[in-house]
């Protein structure tokens, strides 16, 4: 119904316009040609003048009204060091083009008004004026030269890559439909290698985890942090189509391209809270953040730097938002400390782990520390249940009593423990699941316990302190009703005896 009314209105308006046109045409015939020209000239001459005044007023008024969105002005100041350079050129260009805009428009519409058709007026015959042509070629050329020189100076400074020996931190931003994944280097300060062919559901970036540099890398959650005043080199990539890494307040923008990493180097100059405090001065930022909640927090209080996509990448292009917090170095360090290595938390020991057969240095260190603490606790404890510890990281070749090569770290930890507490002796107990003959299981568990004892004895622990014993499948930890539970029941433990 609405559309029908709209359609009727359109038809009606069209008919009215056609009629107006026809009526004017008829009155023109009556008025005579000269009178029509005179009226025409009067009306359109005045309209030119009115348009000139209204237009210039509108332009200047709106520019004043929107001054706070102009680059480098008021609340729209750059939040990065290099941004000041380009905001400055923006301002110079704005002043120059503003003057040219006003003057040429005054000339254009005023001349149209002043030289409007009048009966008997003779137009001047000025086919050309070479002096004028030279002037109005030379002046724009000089102005453009100034803008080019200043612009390129700024451009080459802003776009320069980091130099060798310069102090900076590098992070990696990867775009995909429709979101960003950021990767921070861990303690080594280096981002590890990747190969897109390694991409899996868990390893969405295709990180090559055989590269030790990847093991401490961090993939933070929704909120990203960067320290203020520190030069950041963002390595920018895309997985699927073109995207663009865009930080509006930092004047950072660079395409993310599959197969062709790009970069942008910038130094954040204001922390989020400093920026918020500056915004506080402007009335529009004292409006409520959520218009539906007038008493709630104000806009400046909720302000955050944002990461957006600025290259059409498909139907979700508009939704690739991330929040970026710029903080002091101390706050940044504290945040970084809370972040966990992506490899160790998400990949290690799971299906996509290429290092399953290896024990990493970091794991050796951590396990030694943990083992030391555990054995100390067990020795000091008075309850008997606490006296039994599981040797989680030792394993045997399938069906035999041969220790795997990676078991030695755990056994060495036990050696260290026994040396640290020379007065204790231990029972080493082997356990199996209920798969196979109980007698065979018992024999296997006994010989496995003996293999452990032999390893320890070979490392100088007196045999009297070691009592190996096989229990077979008689002491399951959990019911043997699933492969996972059976794996839990295949274990080696030791119990502190005195």
């Amino acid at each position: 119904m609405t559309s029908l009314i709209v359609l009727l209105c359109i038809i009606l308006i069209t008919v009215v316009l056609v009629q107006i046109g026809k009526v004017y045409e008829l009155t023109n015939v009556i008025k005579g040609e000269q009178q029509v020209l005179r009226d025409n000239s009067k009306w359109n001459g005045w309209l030119s003048l009115v348009f000139l005044v209204v237009f210039l007023f509108g332009v200047i008024y709106s520019a004043w009204d929107f001054k706070n969105v102009m680059l480098g002005y008021g609340p729209h100041e750059s939040a990065s060091e290099h941004g000041l350079l380009l905001d400055n050129i923006f301002f110079i260009t704005l002043v120059i083009t503003g003057i040219v805009f006003v003057l040429t428009h005054i000339a254009l519409f005023f001349f149209v008004y002043k030289y409007r058709y009048q009966e008997g007026r003779k137009a001047m015959f000025i086919p050309h004026d070479n002096r004028l042509e030279i002037w109005w070629t030379a002046i724009p050329a000089v102005v453009m030269t100034i803008l080019v020189v200043r612009g390129l100076n700024a451009w080459n400074t802003v776009m320069a890559d980091v130099k060798e020996g310069e102090e900076y931190m590098e992070i990696e931003a990867t775009a995909q439909q429709f979101g960003w994944t950021l990767r921070y280097p861990g303690a080594d300060g280096k981002i590890g290698a990747r190969d897109y062919k390694l991409t899996t559901g868990a390893n969405t970036l295709g990180v090559d985890f055989t590269d030790p540099k990847t093991w401490d890398d961090i993939i933070p959650g929704q909120e990203l942090y960067l320290p203020v005043g520190k030069k950041v080199r963002v390595r920018i990539l895309a997985k699927d189509v073109l995207h663009n890494f865009y930080l509006p307040q930092h004047r950072v923008k660079m395409d993310a391209i599959p197969g062709l990493p790009t970069y942008f180097v910038f130094t954040p100059s204001k922390t989020t809270s400093e920026y918020r405090n500056e915004l506080r001065k402007y009335p529009e930022y004292n409006e409520p953040f959520d218009p539906a909640d007038p008493t709630g927090p104000k806009r400046w209080e909720k302000f955050d730097y944002e990461l957006a996509c600025a290259e059409l990448c498909g139907k979700g292009h508009y939704s690739m938002r991330r929040v970026l917090k710029i903080v002091t170095q101390e706050e940044y360090d504290a945040w970084l400390k809370q972040q966990k290595s992506f490899y160790l938390t998400e990949i290690r020991g799971k299906a996509d782990d290429p290092n399953k057969d290896k024990v990493l240095d970091v794991e050796i260190r951590e396990r030694a520390k943990e083992f030391g603490e555990n054995i100390k606790k067990a020795v000091e404890s008075t309850t008997s249940a606490d006296k039994t510890l599981s040797l989680n990281h030792i394993s045997f070749e399938s069906g035999s009593a041969t220790l795997t090569s990676t078991s030695k770290y755990e056994l060495d930890n036990l050696v260290t423990g026994l040396n640290a507490f020379p007065n204790i002796s231990i029972e080493i107990s082997g356990h199996t699941d209920n798969n196979g003959e109980p007698a065979a299981n018992l024999a296997l568990s006994s010989s496995r316990a003996a293999a452990v004892a032999k390893y320890l004895a070979d490392r100088g622990i007196s045999a009297g302190r070691l009592k190996p014993r096989g229990y077979g499948d008689t002491k399951p930890l959990v019911p043997n009703d699933s492969p996972e539970n059976m794996a839990k029941n295949r274990r080696t433990e030791f119990t502190i005896l005195n």
Binding site: I126, H128, W136, M144, D240, Y318
Partner: protein, 620 residues
């Protein structure tokens, strides 16, 4: 408005009889084998005047479709909460109606609309509709030729354009929708159907349509160049040509040199899509699938695309500049100021057009050092552009300016070209482009400088040469309502976008940036823009109504030269037939801009120079 009295016409006949060039042309008063029935006269015509009109009317059709699309996506941006269920009869499944009965535009289709709007307006309307119309109509008439060098190629040029349009039109109705990856069609988005629905069959049809369009453009361009170089009448030296001829000549050269590059670019894209090559693809994981393509570069496509894409904007604006120069001079009753400077600036712009393309790619990951050259060349373009603007203003200075719809649109063109040109100085400076690239500032810039300005040039041309095309006038009152409304309305649409652009709001955001705190505080402005866009859209319907109404019922032309113009097209009969001039072709004795010289209001080109009189075209 008749400036030609019978005495002058008699003089013209006399001079043409004495000095005219006899090419033994035989006029066929009752049609010849090429113009004997409706079909051969109006549809499969080889007459340049009919082909020009075909381009124009097809262009108007596409302009309507393209503009209507912009209204739909402006509704989404200006009124994101509005119920669009009423559009379901037209858009069908692309309007998602929720349980409450509220209809929303599908984001996929939003992007399809934006893409089609760009493609249609740039190629079908402002290239074919503008340049095709006026090149065809004006070249033979203004240089004094019977027709194009090859009328058949000329007709084929139109029909390839028509086919391109048919293919694109059909793609609008695909179940996966038309192409939706932006008019620039950057791969990998345009190469991977997995990445976007529109990159499936929609993209294939887009490429086919573009290929047909390039064929059309080349057939036309070669013809325009050949005709201008070879078929000028006696006395019509290059330096006596009216400015539209210079503009169209350079435009045609730009098209012939750059369109093949686009074709090669999209062909390689086609290979990537269907033959498993990797010109543009490398190390891609899309939708969980690891593609086996390495070594390609998406930036290669951008170079190939913009090697056409940048000259393309001059292909659009140069004919408009030529038209406006002519129209302003005729209606100012004053020679165009600095004819020679105007020609050299056209040539300079044409040359520079080929060495600035990468200014579209400052942020695309090309070596920042290379950008230095593109900044320098880009900002140099401001110089010939400024020269043109000053010359137009100089033309109006000291004139006796007649307000016709045509001349008003000419003035509007100059205003738009100044406004949009100046913002180009921001964007061409790569340092500022870091902040403004891909924001609404860019949208404002190019819509004003090559969208609205080119449209204004086109309107100026249509109002000015309508009497030559249809032997009737368009209604001037409706024309002036159309002009003043559109001038104000177009600024109302695009001026505010500068501010959202400065604030950093990215273009091509379905929700206008509503999910970003930095971008979402422009609801009022977006509503204002949308309302202005709707009003301007309806004002264009006034033009369309005026156009078609005037074809059949406009005031009849009673004189050959209604505007008192100097160029040759106004020496043809009121209803020029096949071959344009019955009998001899007039010869040219002087340049086209002797207005107000020596007390004469105008001196047409066929009038011989007096003893010792200076010819301001050749004798510069």
């Amino acid at each position: 408005m008749a400036h030609v009295n019978t005495a002058a016409e008699t003089l013209e006949d006399k001079l043409t009889h004495e000095l005219g060039y006899d090419d033994h042309f035989h006029e066929h008063h009752h049609g010849d084998k090429f113009q004997s029935n409706f079909l051969t006269t109006y549809i499969f015509s080889t007459d340049h005047k009919i082909i020009g009109r075909q381009f124009l009317i097809t262009g108007i059709f596409w302009a309507f479709i393209g503009a209507a699309m912009s209204i739909i996506f402006r509704l989404q941006l200006g009124f994101p909460e509005a119920d669009l269920a009423w559009l379901r009869p037209i858009l069908g499944k692309w309007i998602m109606v929720n349980d409450a009965g509220i209809g929303k535009l599908d984001p996929e289709f939003y992007y399809a609309l934006v893409t089609m709007h760009g493609t249609i307006l740039v190629f079908f309307v402002l290239t074919a509709g503008l340049s095709g119309t006026f090149a065809n109509l004006l070249i033979p008439l203004q240089i004094g030729a019977r027709d194009m060098a090859s009328p058949l190629l000329n007709a084929l040029s139109y029909w390839f354009f028509f086919l391109a349009g048919v293919v694109m039109f059909i793609s609008l109705f695909l179940s996966t929708g038309p192409f939706s990856g932006g008019w620039t069609a950057y791969p990998p988005l345009s190469a991977l159907p997995q990445a976007s629905d529109g990159s499936a069959a929609g993209m294939t049809m887009w490429i086919v349509s573009m290929a047909l369009f390039v064929v059309s453009s080349l057939l036309g361009g070669i013809n325009y160049i050949t005709t201008i170089l070879n078929l000028r009448t006696k006395g019509m030296s290059l330096w006596r040509m009216p400015l539209p001829m210079w503009a169209i000549f350079v435009t045609a050269i730009l098209g012939v040199l750059s369109f093949p590059v686009l074709l090669s670019g999209v062909l390689l894209l086609m290979f990537d899509r269907s033959l498993g090559t990797s010109f543009y693809l490398s190390e891609i994981v899309v939708g969980g699938e690891i593609l086996d393509r390495i070594g390609g570069s998406p930036i290669l496509f951008q170079h190939l695309f913009w090697f056409l894409g940048h000259p393309e904007v001059y292909i659009i604006i140069l004919p408009a500049m030529g038209i406006v120069s002519e129209v302003l001079s005729v209606h100012a009753r004053k020679p165009i100021f600095g004819y020679t400077a105007m020609v050299y600036s056209i040539l300079a712009i044409g040359f520079l057009a080929f060495i600035v393309w990468a200014h579209h790619m400052f942020m695309a990951g090309v070596n920042p050092f290379i950008s230095n050259f593109f900044v320098i060349f880009t900002l140099i373009i401001a110089v010939p552009s400024a020269v043109k603007v000053f010359n137009w203003i100089g033309t109006i200075y000291g004139s006796n300016f007649r307000f016709t719809s045509a001349s008003l649109f000419g003035v509007g063109f100059v205003s738009m070209f100044i406004s949009g040109g100046l913002t180009g100085i921001f964007l061409g400076n790569s340092a500022i482009d870091i902040a403004l690239h891909d924001t609404y500032f860019v949208v404002a810039h190019f819509h004003i400088v090559m969208g609205i300005a080119a449209f204004f040039g086109m309107f100026a041309g249509v109002y000015h040469w309508f009497p030559k095309m249809f032997s009737r006038y368009m209604n001037e009152t409706m024309g002036k309502i159309h002009f003043w409304g559109t001038l104000v309305g177009a600024y109302a649409i695009f001026w505010p976008m500068h501010y959202t652009g400065m604030a950093g709001v990215p273009r091509r955001y379905y929700d206008g940036g509503a999910s970003f705190d930095a971008f979402r505080h422009f609801e009022d402005l977006n509503r204002f823009i949308t309302v202005a866009a709707i009003m301007v859209f309806f004002l264009q319907i006034v033009f369309i109504v005026n156009f078609f109404y005037s074809i059949f019922s406009g005031k009849k032309l009673t004189v050959k030269n209604p505007w008192g113009a100097n160029s040759l097209e106004w020496t043809t009969p009121i209803k020029p037939g096949h071959g344009n001039w019955p009998g001899k072709i007039p010869t040219v004795q002087r340049w086209a801009y002797d207005y107000g010289k020596g007390g004469e209001e105008f001196i047409p080109q066929y009038i011989p120079l007096k003893d010792g009189e200076h010819d301001h075209g050749e004798g510069h």
